[in-house]
Structures are given as structure tokens and as C-alpha cells.
């Protein structure tokens, strides 16, 4: 069970975020759900790089080669991913502020300008 649990948690978070995104009644809430979707990618990345009994890939207080290390590559990728997530959130929120000014609502059900 433990050997797949982290992956399943990541899948669960992704799908839960998608559900929230599709059923959201408030665009700010939808962006929050998008952030949840992205949290799934962090969990998956870090879970893939984990190794039983290993320590963090930082040599400031351990002797190089003395202990097994977890994968530093996925951690670097996750760092990138975290920053990307924050920037996308900021940009989408900026757009939502303008939507609220121009349309007077942030409910996706009430936005009907673009269709057909």
C-alpha cells in the first residue's frame, strides 16, 4: 500500500482540483482550485524522487558519500514548478480583477459575452 499511496494522493489532488475548477461559481475560487491541481504535480515530483532511508541532498553537514541521498533533480524541478505556479496565479488574478471591473461579476455563469 505504501508503495503507491503517494502517487494515488497526487492523482486524487489533481482530479479534485479539476472538479473544483469545473464546478466553481467564483473565478477567484477557480484559480484557487487551479493552484490545488498544481499541488498535485509537486507531490508527484517529490514522491518520485524519494528513496527509503536517504537524506536531503545537501552536503553542508554530512560527509559526501556517507549516506544515500534523495534525488536532487526532482527537487530542482519542483522548485521551478512552485515559482511557475505562483506567477500563473498572480497573472490570472490580475485578469479576474479586470473582469470584475468590466463585467461587474466574478461568477462564470454570468459571463455571456463570448459564445457561439
Amino acid at each position: 500500500m505504501m508503495s503507491v499511496l503517494p502517487y494515488l494522493v497526487a492523482v486524487w489532488i489533481f482530479l479534485a482540483g479539476c472538479y473544483g475548477l469545473a464546478t466553481s461559481r467564483n473565478l477567484i475560487h477557480a484559480v484557487g482550485c487551479l493552484a490545488v491541481c498544481q499541488a498535485a504535480t509537486y507531490v508527484l515530483l517529490i514522491a518520485v524522487g524519494y528513496r527509503d532511508g536517504a537524506t536531503a541532498p545537501v552536503h553542508s553537514d554530512i560527509e559526501p558519500g556517507s549516506r544515500p541521498l534523495v534525488d536532487p533533480v526532482v527537487q530542482a524541478l519542483a522548485l521551478t514548478d512552485v515559482v511557475v505556479g505562483a506567477t500563473v496565479t498572480a497573472l490570472l488574478l490580475a485578469l479576474i480583477l479586470q473582469i470584475s471591473k468590466r463585467h461587474g461579476t466574478v461568477d462564470p455563469d454570468e459571463l455571456s459575452e463570448l459564445r457561439g
Binding site: M2, L5, P6, V9, W12, I13, A16, G17, Y19, G20, S24, R25, N26, I28, H29, V31, G32, C33, A35, V36, A39, A40, Y42, V43, I46, A47, G49, Y50, D52, G53, A54, T55, A56, P57, V58, V70, Q75, A78, L79, V82, V83, G85, A86, T89, A90, L93, I96, L97, S100, K101, G104, V106
Partner: protein
């Protein structure tokens, strides 16, 4: 023991993420997202990823919820002004 700890943190993350989706009010959601950020940071620490944990703590539990709250404030403030003039 370590496995238990990982499993518990994982379930905590899953539960908080679900709660963040279920919280339909954006203010409450922002707060739950801040908790999710802390939970993720905890998970990453347990999984020996202190670098990611640190940035998740800074970005996920401080910056992102702050931006969300500021946006809610702007939208609500607008709504109130509009309500007054009508």
C-alpha cells in the same frame, strides 16, 4: 515509523486539498490554501526536500493566499461601492 509519518502527512495533504476545493467561499479557501501550503511544506520536509519545503512555505502559504485575499478585497470593495450607488 518513518512510513507512518509519511502516510499521515500525505493524508493530511489530501484532506486539506479536498477541503480547499470544497471551500466555496474564496476567503475561506485562501485560508485553507495557506494550511495546504504548510501541510505540503511538512510533507516535503519529511520527504527530505528542505529546499522545496522552504519555497513552498514562502510561496504556497504566504504569497499565493495573500494575493487571493487582496483580490477578494478588491472585488468585494467594488461590489459594496456599487451597492451603495444603486
Amino acid at each position: 515509523m518513518n512510513d507512518m509519518l509519511i502516510a499521515v502527512t500525505l493524508l493530511l495533504v489530501a484532506a486539506t486539498a479536498t477541503a480547499a476545493v470544497a471551500a466555496r467561499d474564496p476567503v475561506r479557501q485562501a485560508l485553507v490554501l495557506a494550511v495546504l501550503g504548510v501541510a505540503l511544506a511538512l510533507l516535503f520536509t519529511v520527504l527530505q526536500a528542505p529546499d522545496v519545503a522552504l519555497s513552498q512555505l514562502a510561496v504556497g502559504s504566504a504569497l499565493t493566499p495573500l494575493l487571493l485575499l487582496l483580490s477578494v478585497r478588491k472585488v468585494r470593495r467594488r461590489g459594496r461601492r456599487k451597492g451603495r450607488t444603486e
